[in-house]
């Protein structure tokens, strides 16, 4: 009996105050659950006057370490491709130069091809790797976490606020704050639905409040667990993509 009481004393605080880092790690696992995925992307860029321009492309991802994105439209962006590999190794291919270029880490906080996503945003798979989480708020349906960069991790963001669905552990919204604590960008996950056994967001909206510019990324023709080999994520594939 004493043992049961002692165990309850140990376990109760876990129920009372969920571990924020564990929640974040679980959300990361949900977001990266498919073994691989390939999909078509439509990016709608909206400027402060409401003018729209559209980018189309394709995206491939394997696990939480490999991603390849290539634009197919508009014509002046066609063929631009971005490859993200483990250990922060990234390459970009610009057809005009017929050359694959290594992306240095100073470029990671620059926006990719006029969108509101930075190279770093596109290569961040697991927030728990770079950020330490604390629980700000818990409602019936959501956890709200505050994420601060871990010591030694260089980010342009001062901290992040992240909304996580309690039922699915899928991300709902992320607010990105600059180092002065001002709200900078808001990423909203929409059209969250089930594909196979995974929760997938069919639309993401990144709003840059400083620039008053928005990028809506719609994901279509999503295919999961098709067995994309790791070697697909290579400079060879960048060279082969036209």
């Amino acid at each position: 009996m004493k043992r049961i009481i002692a165990s309850l004393i140990l376990v109760l605080p876990i129920f009372a105050a969920p571990n924020a880092n564990a929640i974040l790690a679980k959300a990361d696992s949900v977001m990266n659950a498919p073994k691989d995925r390939k999909m078509k992307m439509v990016m709608i860029l909206i400027d402060k006057h409401g003018n729209k321009s559209i980018r189309e492309g394709e995206s491939y991802q394997k696990g939480d370490s490999y991603r390849l994105i290539r634009f197919t439209k508009p014509a002046d962006q066609r063929g631009i491709a971005f490859l993200s590999l483990p250990h922060d190794v990234m390459y970009v291919y610009f057809p005009a130069f017929k050359k694959i270029r290594r992306i240095a880490s100073h470029v990671k906080n620059q926006t990719f091809a006029g969108t509101d996503f930075t190279y770093d945003d596109l290569s961040t798979f697991r927030y728990s790797k770079d950020y330490h989480a604390t629980l700000l708020e818990e409602t019936d349906s959501t956890y709200v976490l505050k994420l601060t960069p871990k010591p030694g991790v260089k980010k342009d963001y001062g901290f992040l606020k992240m909304w996580i669905d309690k039922k699915t552990y899928h991300l709902l919204k992320i607010e990105f704050y600059d180092k002065s604590g001002n709200l900078w960008k808001v990423l909203t996950f929409k059209n969250i639905h089930r594909v196979k056994n995974y929760w997938i967001s069919g639309e993401m909206e990144m709003k840059d409040l400083k620039k008053n510019h928005t990028t809506i990324m719609k994901l279509e023709e999503i295919e999961l667990d098709t067995g994309i080999p790791t070697k697909f994520f290579s400079r060879r594939t960048l060279r082969r993509m036209h």
């Binding site: 014509a75 002046d76 006029g114 620039k211 290579s234």
Partner: protein
């Protein structure tokens, strides 16, 4: 002709044939007050045709239709010639077929006219020697001409291998206007009694031992650094004087200079990485020329090339917190320099994007030549190239800029100092 038309019309029937290209208007104006004039008047229509034919085949054809130059009308008859009024040329760019997983998995072949763009440096790539330079527009330095070649790629998890064989020698395309003199030092004076000169270019005989070139490269990523080692055997693509003699033509003594293309072997190495958040690269070419002796019937033989020499580029780039992008390079040996006559160059470019990347301003674009470190004040050349690029909508780009050149002494840039120009380029991509 009929067959070509039929083929072009039938192309879209192939599944997945994609067309693309651009239309570009390019004008340059010489600003020198007493002889101000247009120096470039070019419209280019580029058409790309490419297709994946199944999983293992791909082809690409680049066609250029270029209207370039000014009406060359001197006689009434010239007025009846469209060629004289509107100089037009059709050029074939890269035209190749890719075969993926040829014979074994991960072994790819690319056969046809192509550009083999090696090296980690920007624009000036001393390890990239398969393709000759296209110096038609000298300000677009580093541009290459495609050549017919077979190129093989093989990738493993650790390393990438590449081998290229180009059977036919193609010399570099030289600038035909005010930039020509900049590439040749004007040190030669004519012998007494000689008032005429004639230059003969002697290209290698088109047989394997004479006109072919080949190269191999192995590359990989180690400890977050991209590195490669390469080897090239072929020829310099810029002509070197081979023989100078006096010949009598129409009872007049003429200095005849025969130019050739020396053989070279090149061991190359390059790297790129990102230490401390800064982009950093280097490219080195150890060039071992054949012994190349100028037969001078007047002054005796002169050895122009013999000793190996090193050309290299070291550079870096960085994006500051305020969005300014800085790119810098130190270059030892420009594209037209070989042997003992290698000069040092520093390039520096600062740019910033505005309006969600629609406007790019490069207020500082500098290329400086230092021909003599012990006497920089008296022997230097500087090119300033501020530029503004604006893209109001997708697929259209307006580029305006200026070229201001200053210099002193005997060096490439100083020889260009009279050429201060403004330019405009409008490009519509489809």
């Amino acid at each position: 002709m009929k067959r070509i038309l039929m083929f072009l019309l039938a192309l879209p029937l192939f599944a997945g044939v994609k067309f693309g290209g651009y239309l570009e208007f390019y004008g340059r104006y010489w600003l020198k007050s007493d002889s101000a004039r247009w120096t470039m008047n070019r419209e280019t229509f580029k058409l790309n045709t490419e297709a994946d034919m199944g999983e293992h085949l791909h082809f690409k054809v680049e066609n250029y239709m270029v209207h370039d130059g000014f009406p060359a009308v001197f006689t009434p008859e010239d007025l009846t010639s469209r060629g004289k009024l509107s100089p037009l040329s059709i050029r074939l760019g890269e035209t190749y077929a890719d075969v993926y997983d040829f014979l074994v998995p991960d072994f790819d072949l690319r056969i046809g006219r192509q550009i083999v763009n090696w090296g980690t440096a920007d624009k000036i790539n001393p390890t990239s020697n398969i393709n000759p330079y296209d110096m038609e527009d000298f300000m677009d330095f580093g541009k290459r001409l495609p050549v017919n070649a077979a190129r093989a790629f093989y990738s493993t998890d650790l390393l990438n291998f590449e081998f290229v064989f180009a059977p036919i020698f193609t010399p570099s395309f030289m600038p035909a206007n005010e930039f020509t003199e900049a590439l040749t030092s004007n040190s030669s004076t004519l012998p007494p009694g000689v008032t005429r000169t004639r230059t003969v270019i002697q290209t290698p005989v088109p047989k394997v031992s004479e006109s072919s070139s080949f190269a191999g490269k192995v590359s990989g990523n180690f400890f977050d650094w991209d590195v490669s080692l390469s080897y090239f055997h072929g020829r310099l693509t810029v002509p070197f004087p081979k023989k100078m003699e006096i010949s009598v033509e129409d009872s007049t003594p003429v200095l005849v200079t025969t130019m050739g293309f020396p053989e070279i072997n090149v061991i190359g190495a390059d790297f790129s990485g990102s230490p401390f958040g800064v982009g950093f690269w280097g490219e080195f070419a150890y060039i071992m020329p054949e012994k190349y002796v100028l037969e001078n019937t007047l002054l005796g033989p002169d050895t122009l090339l013999k000793k190996p020499f090193l050309k290299y580029v070291i550079g870096g780039d960085y994006t500051f917190k305020n969005g300014f992008y800085l790119n810098f390079q130190f270059i030892h040996g420009f594209t037209n320099e070989y042997g003992d006559s290698l000069n040092d160059y520093v390039t520096f470019r600062l740019e910033k994007k505005f309006l969600n990347d629609r406007l790019k301003v490069a207020p500082l674009g500098i290329a400086a030549e230092i021909a003599d470190w012990s006497n920089v004040k008296e022997n230097y050349g500087v090119i300033l190239n501020p530029e503004l690029v604006y893209s109001p909508f997708d697929n259209i780009e307006f580029k305006v800029g200026g070229i201001v050149i200053d210099g002193k002494g005997e060096n490439t840039f100083a020889r260009l100092k009279e050429i201060d120009e403004a330019y405009i380029r409008v490009k519509l991509t489809f």
